[in-house]
Symmetry: C2
Subunit: 333 residues, 2 copies
């Protein structure tokens, strides 16, 4: 099998992170870890798309402030979102005098951004880059599913798109003990799931494919990591992943979870299978997981953002849902 895992010659420092969480996310179990929580998710904008742009813009600006850096200190921003033509990122990046690489691997985009950003630093071509993704429940819901005004009933296997953004500042310099050490690049996997309301089932096989490649390429076992966190498989998707990968003789047990599970309280927040969206794993990683890495609770984690490569048109044209997942190993060295 082809090796799909990159080992960075110089482990890449995570210098700083920043997050903004929506009101629902801010009322969830991770509320104490977010850098900012919105009181309302429209921010006085005329559209949900404009609100998403504001959230993403403020997140990047907030991180520059936290890191005491100016735009001119950043070589490039690698970012993406769920909107058509990643239009949110396009307008977000209009606010910054920084080079821009637009990415789209759906909800796996944050993993793609970390891999490409770290590679650019590892190649010695840049000094500091920002990897960032955002999503907004209301802009995603009306884009991929139904107008909110319809008040459509949500199906049992659906997930709740996270309103929020998370940004990670990577540095070529050895400025932090928390490093990106390895990454496994995903490929497109399609098991024939066609229910656009069951993204977890569509993405679980892609997560399995990338995890198997990661363990095969690195010789590591799941228990090497203190935490293995998929991006947004949600409750049912995560169980499906554990079931599928067990058939391949790999056990994901107590050290495995999913950012879409962590972000909401399923009992009290009525989110069906949990969180999803390009902002899901970037919000959770850049707040809760990064904090636990700093505190030493975790020393070795594997972040596996998962993306359903679907569009509203492809679903209407009767296509199945391909998916992809990228794995990024982050370790305290």
């Amino acid at each position: 099998m082809k090796n799909r895992t990159i080992t960075f010659k110089t482990p890449i420092s995570i210098q700083e992170t920043a997050t903004i969480a929506g009101p629902k996310e801010g009322a969830g179990p991770l509320k104490d870890y977010y850098h900012n929580i919105l009181e309302n998710d429209v921010l006085g904008q005329k559209s949900f798309e404009s609100a998403e742009i504001k959230i993403h813009t403020y997140t990047i600006k907030h991180m520059l402030n936290r890191a005491k850096l100016k735009e001119n200190d950043i070589d490039c921003v690698f970012c993406g979102d769920l909107l058509d033509e990643i239009i949110g990122c396009n307008y977000t990046m209009r606010e910054f005098d920084i080079a821009f690489m637009g990415l789209y691997n759906a909800c796996a985009t944050f993993g793609e951004a970390l891999i490409l950003g770290a590679t650019m630093l590892d190649a010695g071509h840049m000094e500091k880059v920002i990897c960032s993704t955002a999503s907004h429940f209301s802009s995603a819901e009306r884009k991929f599913r139904y107008p909110l005004e319809l008040g459509s009933q949500r199906t049992p296997l659906s997930q709740w798109t996270v309103t929020g953004a998370g940004s990670t500042l990577l540095s070529k310099q050895d400025v932090s003990k928390i490093k990106i050490t390895m990454a496994t690049v995903g490929r497109v996997v399609d098991y024939g799931v066609s229910d656009a309301n069951d993204m977890g089932a569509a993405m679980a096989p892609a997560a399995m494919d990338t995890l198997i490649a990661h363990f095969r390429d690195t010789g590591r076992k799941p228990d090497y990591y203190d935490l293995i966190a998929t991006g947004d498989l949600g409750h049912s998707g995560s169980r499906l992943l554990q079931k599928l990968i067990k058939e391949k003789n790999i056990e994901l047990n107590d050290n495995y979870t999913d950012c879409g599970i962590l972000v909401y309280n399923r009992e009290s927040q009525d989110v069906q299978q949990g969180g999803s969206g390009t902002g899901c794993c970037s919000l959770v990683f850049n707040s809760y997981i990064y904090t636990q890495l700093k505190r030493g609770k975790y020393k070795k984690i594997l972040l596996v953002p998962t993306g359903a490569l679907v569009s509203k048109i492809s679903s209407l044209q009767g296509e199945t849902i391909p998916a992809i997942a990228h794995a990024v190993a982050i370790e305290v060295l």
Copy 2:
């Protein structure tokens, strides 16, 4: 000013290219340079989007055949297109057992792909990657403008989205004299153009911004290059670029052209300002320009793919059109 130019430590070899042109493109001035020309642009598919996927898939397969390589020889494909969620690439990559990085910088995506692909090789993480983009007139027209069935009259400043795809195989090994030596990464530029039928005017300032950065960072002058080719500014956009950049004391003269100008015969093909689309510069570069590099007609070229970062929603919401351009220096060494 911030340096935005990358110099590859080891110039990256362009090992092979492949192109498929639509019928209209195949009747244009570059017909003798395309590897394949379609007799019809639907390929027996149920939708234009499905046809675009076939075109892109066949282009990548054709290049693997030309290079006598198997999927397992390729480390990653960096690709993008104009469809929502780059859905064309998602389904194209479902056909290949190869790692996938989805990109979106609109019609500048081919430049982004060359930069990120070359960086991945320069970092030593991969051996061979494919950079590829595609577009289809009919899928783009009904997505960004009007249903074809409306038979809407085209405005004088509009451009014709290229039906076609172009793929470039990059190799870490020194297998070709034709190398990617440098690249200048673009940033988002918005001069306030809001006419979605005048993309050339929206993109020209971005091309200027990147060209100025490239000449500033490298100390090179326009006459260093045998050819400077922007991606898809078209006739009016190219003239606008020349006018704008002249005010900055940079002259783009006889060695300057635009892939959107080269791809059609304006007099006989009724394409208003010329070609556009993510497939425009990848089709022209991977056929005509690459052939001229092999023949020695050109020894130093600067390819500047240009992208209008617009969506149909952003236009309807009254937004202006941000744009971006990436510059890639390709030289015979």
